[in-house]
Symmetry: C2
Subunit: 402 residues, 2 copies
């Protein structure tokens, strides 16, 4: 049985403590330094941006994880991305980790670091050095919210979630926090996500974790740009005393679905908080030749300005969806394609049907709805998620000034 | 010597006649049926949309051109795209060609057809049948403007251009007309372009023509979507009495540059007339590993909403440009990359320079300017062109209703 806890977060699983303080990095004076620590070293998996312009903390974490998969803490600052900062950037990322390792009494390669905020400005490392003792002091098993608040940049809402899965071996807890504002925003930067669990996971879970990221945080890269700092980290500390291997096969499946649900819910919080967004739409591509094709087509439709402005205008404009899908580069034959807005079918075999436009307009007026494109080419499916493109998106992004 | 003629068009070259009439296809009652005819069969090259959802006239023209490369006329309707119209669509496209062939007293496979407008509605073929005699009657050597007007949909300006190249063999004339409104607009559809010349061209020019299309109309596919109807057609009728083979090597080069210039100027007219556009920006990528990489990176930057909203906001936001370039998938190493706004350098080797922001803000306030990204990876370059993303873009596309 899975119970979601909206007031939960990264500290919902046993043995995790979190904190967030004001280090003076953000001009606004808001919370900007967050620490997440596990009482015992946790098995760690990381997925990082594929952008060829990678921020220093991304490069640092990748190097640490190439040497060790046991991590005890993650130190995150907001307000400065430590990206495009040259050799100083690397030194500052390393120094962040060292300061945290020292405060926590840990050895080398025990702490990962993340940064999010303005690109191209030197990290104020001395402010972080001064604040680390305070954030260490503030660590608490009730620190989910403090952690989630301190990683925010343009987010208008905190994004945090917990879950408890009851199994025959006992309770397994899952928690998470993320930041990001729908449209990845390279100057205020980045999607960051942290998932915790108190199960013991084997190192062979790496490909599964990547698959979960693909179905959640990577299914919402709604404007096609990857930031220089995008990071998703999973920490599994085993503090529940339950090992994945001891679960029955069906309970293993339940656990996998549970962690996937937590990650997807967190990802959807980002879409709902998209810059200027007034609605969220799932683009479901079914019966594609391959999973890759289903994703490619869904994500292409999700990034089409023509599709996204039509969503804002509450216009059931199927022509834009079909045309965008056709230019995505996946296998698609127009004459085989069916298209639905929720349960209202508008195209069969690529030809428009006589549609009840009253029902159709009721669907596109909803805050959240699903568009399903059935390709009838194969048996693979994928969902992608997008928000609409509104006046406010242009306003937020045009009026932000470097 | 090349002389551009802003009042010229598809009828600038000898032996071409054009016309445009009102056939009643557009609800607005504006001109919507255009005919372009060559006095003698012209060598024809066509480049068509790569969208997997192709409109019936695209499929029809591709089939005709697979059988014959001599074409005498092109009949174009606006107001209806004849796309997603099933078997009726093909029959209607074929009927359009037959009616024109019959009116012009020509045989099978002599006429190409194009359609642009609303997707998914049956073409009102009977209205076209009725209007063909009128458009045929109206054909005139002064018909450049009438032709260019009748192919417009959401365009706010007519797009037409002529050029005269003086060679040792005599004058060669080049003309063109196109339609499209910056952001390709699948429901009112499509970029259409027609280039005419009175030189005699060999059939071996096909790859060159594709290259010219890549450097012009394909360099402005600014929102990443290809429409179902995109078409670019070149007709070379030899009416000047000059054959390409008789030109000196240097004059052949002049001719190639001339036709490329005409096509680029027409393409830029589309960007300038972009929906809601307030400025046009060239993204120049230099010293890339390959031409493909230079194009891929330039076009990716050109479609970034974050970059385009920054242009609208007159914000010299180099972080968004570098981050977008890094996620394009071409080879790029941040630490090697230089970035310029016109002649103002903002990045050297991936690191921000101390910049005179007054000069920088003067550049981004211009109606047209160039951003140059020097990758220092190889020796290939490419230019791509985009317009900004404004409130009006959202307004135009959100308020249009199917």
């Amino acid at each position: 049985m899975l119970e979601m806890q909206l007031n939960g977060g990264v500290c919902t699983p046993k043995g995790f403590r979190g904190a967030g303080v004001k280090a003076g990095i953000k001009a606004s004076g808001n919370h900007d330094l967050a620490l997440l620590a596990s009482d015992v070293p946790a098995r760690c998996f990381g997925v990082f941006t594929l952008n060829q312009v990678k921020a220093a903390p991304v490069l640092y974490d990748q190097e640490v994880l190439s040497r060790s998969d046991r991590i005890s803490a993650v130190l995150v600052n907001s307000g400065n991305a430590n990206a495009c900062t040259g050799p100083d950037g690397w030194a500052d990322a390393k120094r962040m980790a060292q300061v945290a390792e020292s405060a926590l009494g840990l050895g080398k390669d025990s702490v990962l670091v993340c940064s999010t905020g303005i690109i191209g400005r030197k990290l104020p490392i001395e402010k972080i050095e001064v604040a680390v003792p305070a954030v260490h002091e503030a660590l608490s098993h009730e620190g989910s919210e403090a952690f989630a608040r301190a990683i925010m940049t343009t987010d208008t809402k905190m994004k945090t979630l917990g879950a408890v899965l009851t199994t025959s071996e006992g309770e397994i807890r899952i928690g998470g926090a993320c930041k990001g504002s729908g449209m990845i925003h390279p100057n205020m930067a980045t999607m960051l996500a942290y998932i915790t669990t108190d199960i013991e996971l084997p190192p062979t879970f790496r490909p599964e974790f990547k698959a979960w990221v693909n179905e959640s945080f990577n299914a919402i890269s709604v404007d096609g740009d990857m930031s220089t700092n995008d990071t998703c980290i999973l920490l599994a500390n085993g503090a529940s005393g339950i090992s994945y291997h001891n679960l029955s096969l069906s309970e293993q499946g339940e656990f996998r679905r549970a962690i996937e649900s937590v990650m997807l819910e967190l990802a959807l919080m980002i879409v709902r908080d998209g810059e200027g967004a007034t609605r969220m739409v799932e683009i479901r591509v079914e019966k594609a030749t391959s999973k890759d094709d289903a994703r490619k087509i869904g994500r292409f439709v999700c990034t089409s300005n023509l599709v996204k402005t039509a969503m804002f205008g509450q216009d059931p404009n199927w022509g834009r969806i079909l045309s965008s899908a056709g230019s995505a580069g996946g296998e698609l034959i127009a004459d085989r394609t069916d298209l639905f807005f929720e349960d209202v079918q508008v195209l069969r075999g690529g030809r428009p049907l006589d549609v009840d436009y009253t029902r159709l307009r009721e669907v596109v007026a909803r805050k959240e709805y699903r568009i399903t494109l059935v390709l009838n080419m194969g048996d693979s499916s994928a969902s992608s998620y997008t928000c609409d493109l509104s006046y406010d998106y242009v306003k937020i992004n045009a009026e932000y000034t470097t």
